[in-house]
């Protein structure tokens, strides 16, 4: 029996109300099991062996002595591993051959998987893997990324490589003020707390994986293609995922685990080590960006050029589309953007929180700050004067663009009006103080998803969707959405996620997860209520309704749909020691309907803190001689610590879009966008020196000559 009454007023009390994580207690008490922890009888352990050369061929693997080691069950390599198919196009395009392990003897980068050692215990597998001697025919490699690589070429990825309108040279020539600057960002890594892990087994004719990923049906699709299996014969479950940030798709360890369980016919677990993650989990490409801005004396842009170079591996074309930010943010009569890449003997980079926007906004928003300085304009006023009324490249209308409101609210709360624009004039003991701001945006997309909603006779409901909660609070957010859609309190709704058997759904990525899943949940719940309104008795197995949002998403009016935000930062710089410390940060966002204020704030803050990390700390160092990393662990690769995170606040303004069926926009990535620029702009305001290369480390601050305008 249900309490739903036809015609009752719509309850929307759950969405917008702070709710602790449903699985929070399980997580903090250790009851929540992650992919590397779920126990299985007869479990074997695989350990990946990675290449120690950056380019060449495998000449031989001395597997005999390793096979004789205690507990060793098998060694898979290119000579004996099952063949896989890579000539397909999956959910997000063609597969990166890096995940198609052990198919040939070529080594395209250091850290390339050359073998999997499987043993009875993890310790035995590791010892044997480390004992495996691999002989290589080494070839000269090139890992040197720089601004002017002769082999660079424009590359599309998920968007056109190049957009051009207007005569750039003429517009620059006729501009009263010109900024022409180059910016660089280093190779950066996403290292989720939970390492990449999978357990694969054949169970009753089905391949089953307990896996840490950002989309269970995505993984199913890739594995089905790779192993030429019927997708229905694969099940991937991902109950809890300890962070993803773009890194958790199909990677070498899952494919190797499936190969091993197929060969051995027993469950096989493969977990990446932290060090292995640096070469196998993807990363953000370094970027070298040039921004040219031309403006009238009043700051109105006449010319905008943003060119970005990133890198990819020799085996797969991945583009970090940093130059695309301006296609949304600012217009000019001459408007040129271009993403180019160069292919080097390095691992394939991948999506890392706000791909494109994070490094691109650093360059563009820092350049805007330089333009404001040259125009003698407040940086916020400069941005307000350049608010476009339609998509600068697309020409489409904005489905809401509340950036000015973000700046106004942020300025009010940050105390921006009292700011002295002069750089290098505020001191607190040994510290020079400065403030900075920058704009942020991120695409608010949606992708087709399916969900089911089931009404039970006891008045409760179950919603099933193959969503992934990678630490964002998605399970809780979807519960609130479902509760409102079903017009019941959240404790009457159980949302089950992380199981590919629930049907296709968008991945937790592109800031599209919650928006896409909520849409499917809303439709399923709405149709279920309609069914229940007919008054039929609910049978013991319940009444289930399935939704598919493909048609609804296809019916969306074309528009520029984005979240926006304004970032503010205050920093302290000791120019005698080069130390930069953040004193406070504020981010104000216009990001649609906020489902769960508690976890949403965490998402925004997490992004902003990552922005601190990006601005001041993170840099993976690649050794040119060996082609590998130096210090590939979380002691050598610095991320912000608690002590680096100051008074930091995130909040949001109303951002309704009545024309949008869900009104929810993504918030997973926008928190990092613009954060590094706001910090770099604040460092300039503190010191008078423009730091255009991240991270702004003490050695860089110290190497900037006193009074020099550039660094």
């Amino acid at each position: 029996m249900t309490t739903v009454t036809p015609g009752a007023p719509l309850r929307t009390t759950s969405v917008g109300t702070a709710h602790t994580r449903i699985e929070g207690r399980d997580k903090v008490t250790g009851a929540a099991r992650y992919a590397g922890e779920v126990p299985f009888a007869d479990l074997a352990y695989g350990w990946l062996v990675l290449s120690t050369v950056a380019r060449g061929r495998i000449r031989a693997l001395d597997t005999e002595p390793v096979l004789a080691m205690p507990g060793v069950l098998a060694v898979l390599d290119h000579r004996n591993a099952p063949r896989v198919e890579t000539g397909y196009t999956g959910l997000l395009g063609k597969p990166d051959p890096t995940c198609a392990v052990f198919q040939h003897d070529r080594v395209p980068h250091l850290g390339w998987p050359v073998a999997l050692v499987v043993a009875e215990t993890s310790e035995q597998a590791r010892e044997a893997a480390e004992a495996l001697v691999v002989h290589y025919e080494q070839e000269p490699h090139d890992v040197g990324f720089g601004g002017e690589h002769p082999d660079a070429y424009p590359a599309d990825g998920f968007m056109p490589a190049v957009t051009e309108k207007g005569d750039l040279d003429a517009a620059l020539a006729s501009s009263a003020v010109v900024v022409d600057a180059e910016y660089t960002t280093p190779e950066e890594h996403h290292n989720p707390m939970e390492p990449h892990a999978t357990t694969a087994r054949w169970d009753g004719g089905r391949l089953e994986l307990i896996d840490s990923n950002q989309g269970a049906t995505w993984v199913v699709g890739e594995l089905a293609n790779l192993f030429s299996l019927d997708p229905a014969s694969i099940r991937v479950r991902s109950e809890h995922v300890g962070g993803g940030f773009g890194s958790k798709g199909v990677r070498a360890h899952q494919v190797a685990a499936v190969m091993a369980t197929t060969v051995l016919q027993r469950p096989v677990r493969v977990v990446l080590t932290r060090r292995q993650m640096f070469s196998l989990a993807g990363y953000r490409s370094p970027t070298s960006q040039r921004v040219r801005l031309g403006a009238d004396a009043d700051g109105r842009l006449r010319a905008l050029e943003h060119r970005s170079l990133s890198l990819s591996s020799t085996v797969y074309e991945f583009i970090e589309p940093s130059a695309a930010v301006a296609r949304v943010m600012y217009d000019a009569e001459a408007h040129h953007t271009a993403n180019r890449i160069v292919r080097l003997d390095v691992p394939t980079p991948t999506w890392m929180r706000a791909p494109g926007e994070a490094p691109g906004s650093f360059a563009l928003e820092a350049a805007l700050d330089e333009l404001a300085e040259k125009c003698g304009l407040d940086p916020i006023e400069l941005r307000l004067r350049n608010e476009p009324d339609k998509g600068p490249v697309s020409g489409l209308p904005f489905a809401g663009r509340n950036l000015p409101a973000c700046f106004r609210e942020g300025a009010r709360r940050f105390g921006w009006a009292d700011r002295d624009p002069r750089p290098g004039v505020r001191r607190d003991g040994r510290w020079l103080l400065g403030t900075g701001t920058a704009a942020a945006s991120f695409h608010a997309g949606a992708a087709p998803s399916t969900a089911t909603a089931t009404a039970h006779p006891d008045g409760t409901f179950t919603v099933r969707i193959s969503a992934a909660d990678i630490g964002t609070g998605a399970r809780t957010a979807l519960t609130l959405v479902a509760a409102d859609a079903l017009q019941v309190p959240p404790d009457r709704v159980q949302v089950r996620i992380g199981d590919s058997d629930f049907g296709p759904a968008m991945i937790a990525g592109g800031s599209m997860g919650t928006r896409s899943w909520s849409w499917a949940v809303q439709i399923a719940a709405g149709e279920l209520l309609e069914r229940l309104a007919l008054g039929a008795d609910i049978p013991p197995e319940g009444i289930t309704v399935r939704s598919d949002t493909a048609a609804a998403i296809g019916a969306l009016t074309p528009a520029e749909r984005h979240s926006f935000g304004a970032q503010f930062a205050e920093v302290a710089v000791d120019v005698a020691t080069g130390e930069v410390r953040v004193r406070r940060m504020l981010g104000i966002f216009a990001a649609g309907r906020i489902v769960n204020p508690l976890t949403a704030r965490g998402q925004f803050l997490g992004g902003m803190i990552w922005g601190i990390s990006m601005a001041l700390h993170e840099e993976a160092v690649r050794d040119r001689a060996s082609g590998g990393h130096v210090g590939a662990d979380l002691a050598g690769y610095h991320v912000a610590t608690h002590a680096d995170v100051p008074r930091i606040e995130a909040d949001w303004i109303d951002d309704p879009d009545p024309a949008d069926p869900v009104g929810i926009k993504g918030i997973g990535e926008i928190g990092i966008v613009g954060a590094a620029a706001a910090l770099a702009n604040a460092v300039w305001h503190a010191t008078g020196v423009r730091h255009r290369s991240l991270p702004i480390r003490p050695d860089r601050v110290l190497s900037a000559p006193a009074g020099a305008p550039d660094a």
Binding site: A576, T577, R581, D623, V630, G636, H638, L702
Partner: protein, 330 residues
Amino acid sequence: MREFDYQRASDVAGAVALLGADPDTRFLGGGTNLVDLMKSGVERPARLVDIRELPLDEIEPTPGGGLRVGATVTNGDLAAHPEVRRRYPALAQAVLAGASGQLRNMATVGGNLLQRTRCGYFTDVTQPCNKRTPGSGCPAITGEHHNHAILGASDHCVAVHPSDMGVALTAFDAVVHYATADGPGELPLADFYLPVGDTPHRETALPAGALITGVSLPPAPVAAHSRYRKVRERASYAFAIGSLAAALDVQDGVVRDARLALGAVASRPWRAAAAERVLVGAPADAATYAAAADAELAAARPLPHNGYKVDLIRNLVVAVLSELAEEAAR
């Protein structure tokens, strides 16, 4: 995992006997460095002798105002000890500037002195490293070295010693006490670490088979007015890129006594003796401090990417000595 034997020693003589002359046996203190190195394959001991239960966990005042610190005193207890904080504040500050609370509660004084460099080539067994594999080469010299040595390095190794504690101990003329099968011995910390030369794998003058039993700090009234400043690439939980332990005694505007030691500039904590010679007897002003720093840094041989350390150390010396002098004048 490579298997190893584990034994627990209950007294010093027993620990020394257990170690014997076996080059594949290591003493295990807090394990905060050794265990990491075992995981990464840099250390492959066949046997560990756990010395944490040895009766070496006392901090005792010595006549005249010094201290004797047992080898198994944890970093956390050392930094919290009232007499350490009163007599050698820079030592307490140095310890607190290192690692994290959890690590400091495990790490021991003896182990801290024997910890290995965090050079990324040393800790990666797939890379050459003269310190780890003598004769294999030093990729840091032409590779990543922005946090490597500017003083006392050689063509064979440019790694820096990571200890903060050791920098303060060096400034205060600490003496390392040890036990061997032949009886006890001692080494001034100034002589404890060997020059790099062409033997970077030989790091200390500790006799083979010796167990560090403690560290003594001679009385040093100047140390009561001392400071440790550490510069690192984030606010916490990072090794120094340059640090300074300094003590200063100023009377009537003249430096009467000074102690200076530098961290993250050399293969060992670096006593800035040349700087001290410039300071003592000179006017207590910024020009003197700068001249002192310059005297020490005259021997600096920076690499292409660590030249900033010369400026950093110079600035640190001037800033910290100025602070100490200002505070003394108040």
